[in-house]
Subunit: 239 residues, 2 copies
Amino acid sequence: MVSNNQRKQILQLKQKKYRLSSGYFVAEGEKVVEEILSASWECVFLFSTVPNFFPKTVLVNTAEMIKITHFKSPSPVLGVFKFPDAIFPIISNITIAVDGVSDPGNLGTLIRLCDWFGLSELICSSSTVDCFNSKVVQASMGSIVRVQCRYEKDLSTTLRDLKKPIYSADFGGESLYSSSFSEQATIVFGSESHGISAEIDEIVNHKISIPNFRKGRGAESLNVAIAGAIFLSEIFRGR
Amino acid sequence: MVSNNQRKQILQLKQKKYRLSSGYFVAEGEKVVEEILSASWECVFLFSTVPNFFPKTVLVNTAEMIKITHFKSPSPVLGVFKFPDAIFPIISNITIAVDGVSDPGNLGTLIRLCDWFGLSELICSSSTVDCFNSKVVQASMGSIVRVQCRYEKDLSTTLRDLKKPIYSADFGGESLYSSSFSEQATIVFGSESHGISAEIDEIVNHKISIPNFRKGRGAESLNVAIAGAIFLSEIFRGR
């Protein structure tokens, strides 16, 4: 059974301010919850409509799950977890940063992509959607446990301090296919609607774009997760 | 004003059977509706909360728009359009096919990707989500007017009849980065949950996979739209 208090708390966790004040977030879906449990992140509550999902899981019925889900349709499993321990910068040749990405699905997909390409950190401007938003957690498919999102108030200083050439995904840039990325590189992706902010634009060394193969009028843009996929593939294909 | 009859009809168009029986579909969002109008697809009704969106637009208020939208939140513009004229196969060097893709966002994104890479046709198994589903139309961002989705009951015969080498996106395949695609090629993507069907698997000549760069436990898969982006980029980068 889900107590009234638990239900209230779980629904409050839809809001970033409650996640920050409690240090808790919600994860839904068997695959995602399993990934977080495997990573031994501290579990506060665990509810499931399927018996024996995990030791100490509270068995609930679908009607109860509907009342606590953060989604339109409930998953068979919902867990409340504590944020992981304090994070520290991770050094790697390739750094990916996002500047104002607001769609949870896009951020989650980018986290999953970083995981796929072996990156363990994603640097986010503070204007980027919170990585512990349930939709981000779900879209990451659990990759959130292997890719830490480091939020930085002053993204431009953070990126400059990495002392690596900075590339941005930009529609007016040089072709991705004729560019070569240096061994150590930072790549920044801008927001879905406004692109890279003026502050970041100032510190970018190379603007790179994905060529559009349609002659004449065609798709005007690609979404940021798709652009991220194409950039990461191009960067890592030769490594 | 939206009449009761119009409202009823628009809401019925959420269902494929009503789209098929009427030959109508719904498009929402300024960008998407503008693309369809520019392509001169026949417009049946056009509602907007912003004045002077287009000649003959019926001005409505947000409360009315909320009653007719197919989405959680309404857009400023909603149009009902007639299906385009009968479609005919389009010959091109690269053919993309999807076998059972069920998520509307994924299909819409794949349509947008085909548009970006200059492809005007996407061949779909009949188990694939309907391309005139409002969510597909929206995710395509209007690219649906330049990329025709050809649904085939017998996908394997259709693909075999193209007489081009058939490649599939498959987790157990050869690395995408060490594969070379023939000048003329068909590439098939399977469903999100079940991959390629047994029937299609039989006619595939080359199984290709995107290498996972994470050593040890990592993301187990990429979504089909992301895989499509990486494949298309790799195929077209040298063309």
